[in-house]
Subunit: 458 residues, 2 copies
Amino acid sequence: MGNDTGNRRRRIVIIGSGFGGLFAARKLKKADADITIINRTTHHLFQPLLYQVATGIISEGEIAPPTRLILRKYRNTTTLLGDVTDIDMTARTVTSEAMGMTTVTPYDSLIVAAGAGQSYFGNDHFAEYAPGMKTIDDALELRGRILGAFEQAEISTDAHARERLMTFVVVGAGPTGVELVGQIAELAHHTLRGSFRNIDPSDARIVLLDGADDVLPVYGGKLSANARKKLEKLGVEIQLQAMVTDVNRDGLTIKRKDGTETLIRSQCKVWSAGVQASPLGKMIADQSDTTVDRAGRVRVQPDLSVAGHPEVFVIGDMMALDDLPGLAQVAMQGGEYVAKQLIAEIKGKQTEYQRPDFRYWDKGSMATISRFSAVAKVGRIELTGFIAWLIWLVIHLMYLVGYRSRAMTLFAWTMTFFGRGRAQMTITEQQVIARTALKEQHRPAPPAPAPAAERDAG
Amino acid sequence: MGNDTGNRRRRIVIIGSGFGGLFAARKLKKADADITIINRTTHHLFQPLLYQVATGIISEGEIAPPTRLILRKYRNTTTLLGDVTDIDMTARTVTSEAMGMTTVTPYDSLIVAAGAGQSYFGNDHFAEYAPGMKTIDDALELRGRILGAFEQAEISTDAHARERLMTFVVVGAGPTGVELVGQIAELAHHTLRGSFRNIDPSDARIVLLDGADDVLPVYGGKLSANARKKLEKLGVEIQLQAMVTDVNRDGLTIKRKDGTETLIRSQCKVWSAGVQASPLGKMIADQSDTTVDRAGRVRVQPDLSVAGHPEVFVIGDMMALDDLPGLAQVAMQGGEYVAKQLIAEIKGKQTEYQRPDFRYWDKGSMATISRFSAVAKVGRIELTGFIAWLIWLVIHLMYLVGYRSRAMTLFAWTMTFFGRGRAQMTITEQQVIARTALKEQHRPAPPAPAPAAERDAG
């Protein structure tokens, strides 16, 4: 039997401290096992609020508390900083690296919850010009790019350049794209109002692009229409059925269904159009009898384990099962489900062949559009406007880790939503320098010719 | 007459948005003049609390609000992002650069308040291994280095390396050094307690070094003795009369008065031992009849102007006058004094030859040692302990810019001082990567860092 550890305490390794990994660790807090949670950053990240860090509402500390402080009191749990470079499913070890040091951690049970990154659908060179928003670094970089574009426009004396600097494009009209574009609009129209002398920030052109037929396509119907109307009222220009075919320093090229191509000149572009699961998914599939889907997600068994490896589970944004969406709730419930099975097995109440299937309980989903306005869907109930926004607020506060974060965030929200101030508008010099470097590096942009060997090949 | 602008509105340029520049701009808010404030960052920086950003108590947003938002309502004031590269005192222009764009701003009156950077007393190569704490970037970098050293120690399996990783050295026992070392001690003994499994953070060796005979040498006597006792109680090892002769990746070399040399092996070193005024000081001295002192500060006239140039003022950490110290109060009062003279001259109530001498009103000075403990000196009154700490708290809250920052900071302090939690412990990946790069790059290679004075310019 795969999980027989004799009299030794079972060693459970969790890769990833996002919603999936953290909820698994929490559920395992009293388990008679040695648990190690490995992550490449020192923090748990509350991703759904990253857009608020990017737009100056909250600080990174509020949504990214150190994992080891959250788990401090769980004496069976060790938090390990490390970027996982290898999973050996035969030797049952995980190899991770951090700051030049390599650690090999053996496991009896493995929970892989490494999440997903941005997908550029094969155009990875877009990333430099249109970064995604998946990490704290992304959010702070984006804050620097948004506020920096206004600063550059203020200094610029060239009307043509100014127009480009004051055009903001968000690619992808899912919840993240909608929330971000709404906040960029509020920044331009409210927060920054009256603080520049040569430009009027409310002249900014703010564009939301998607290849789909509507914003928030997962909702559709009344909710999508409501979101669209609200965004347009905020001054957001919505372009649908628009495929991005190129992104460079100057802007984006868009192809429409009728085949016409348009160029949007824009300095600050953001990509929130697709996700790609951690490459650890492929590594697992290569060592087992399963495969990954187009987004790199591992096709798992009904108990979230990998075919032929009942000791390895894949959860959250990395797993493909029953078309479940990449939502925090799916990851949380997956983490708790797996922990529950392991606890039952450790106690000898159940074997790995007796696990019930994982059942996802859809508690609904929602997206904010601007202050006082959101859309929410709970089962067949559809809500919009202020009531949806209030529900959004309460639920997001509830899931923030720790009383401190909740109280600080509530305070920051009160300031931003009822006043017009934002407390976290600081740009570091590192970011300014990074942007300058980007610019200088890519001004000459010599097109690299194909290597001679390649051209002459064959 | 130098300042005759005929019927044209006077153009006043302020370089720097620290205490000096910001207080000058605020005082000038109703002046019949066109004011431009130029700074290389987008924010005003409340430097005295940088150590709290470095040690995870408060967020960067609380002490670094955007200058243009602070000055938004002053319709006569323009905020310009730019690194000043030239001052032409004949043509009366200031040249600044930002993100690849150059701006030339003409002036009738110039207030230079570009502050000071860290000084390594001619050993600028120390900077890479023992960064100073003068900017938001410095503080965030330091946060990454402090928390990162504990993370590395947790992973390391080499006892010798662990000892080096868990030794923290602060060079310079002035207020900044004392405040920082006190907070590192509280981090190790309280905040991080119980969150590691392979190390005990309270085993950390925390060293405060100074060449002087006592900590807080500007106070001396009872206050220095009190601070010293309190720090030792916190577990800080104090080494006085110790000159640093070398700093490298592995640690520092110290030379004592008796000529003996000791090596302290330490990964995380911080430099707060001296300051060097912005190189703009030298630029001004070279174009006028004055000189700079050893710290690069401009020797100014009793009206804070430059000899032969009554239209150019130098204030704050950049000015040398009557041995005034580099304190926020000196900069604030200097900024307000200069603004007052200019207002009187614009109104025709006074000429530049009738200015009264600048008089510094010493409101006292203070330093915190840890929670509930500070030392303060107001005239001949010396205070220690809780009462000094309360005064410190109220005064620092008072001078924070904006109600929002004050309320958030008060909340963060309540959490940290009365609980043991810290809300801002996030390290970005950029910082982790920077540290790794530093390590890998400099194991074999000789250092070639930019001179400290250059990094901290303008």
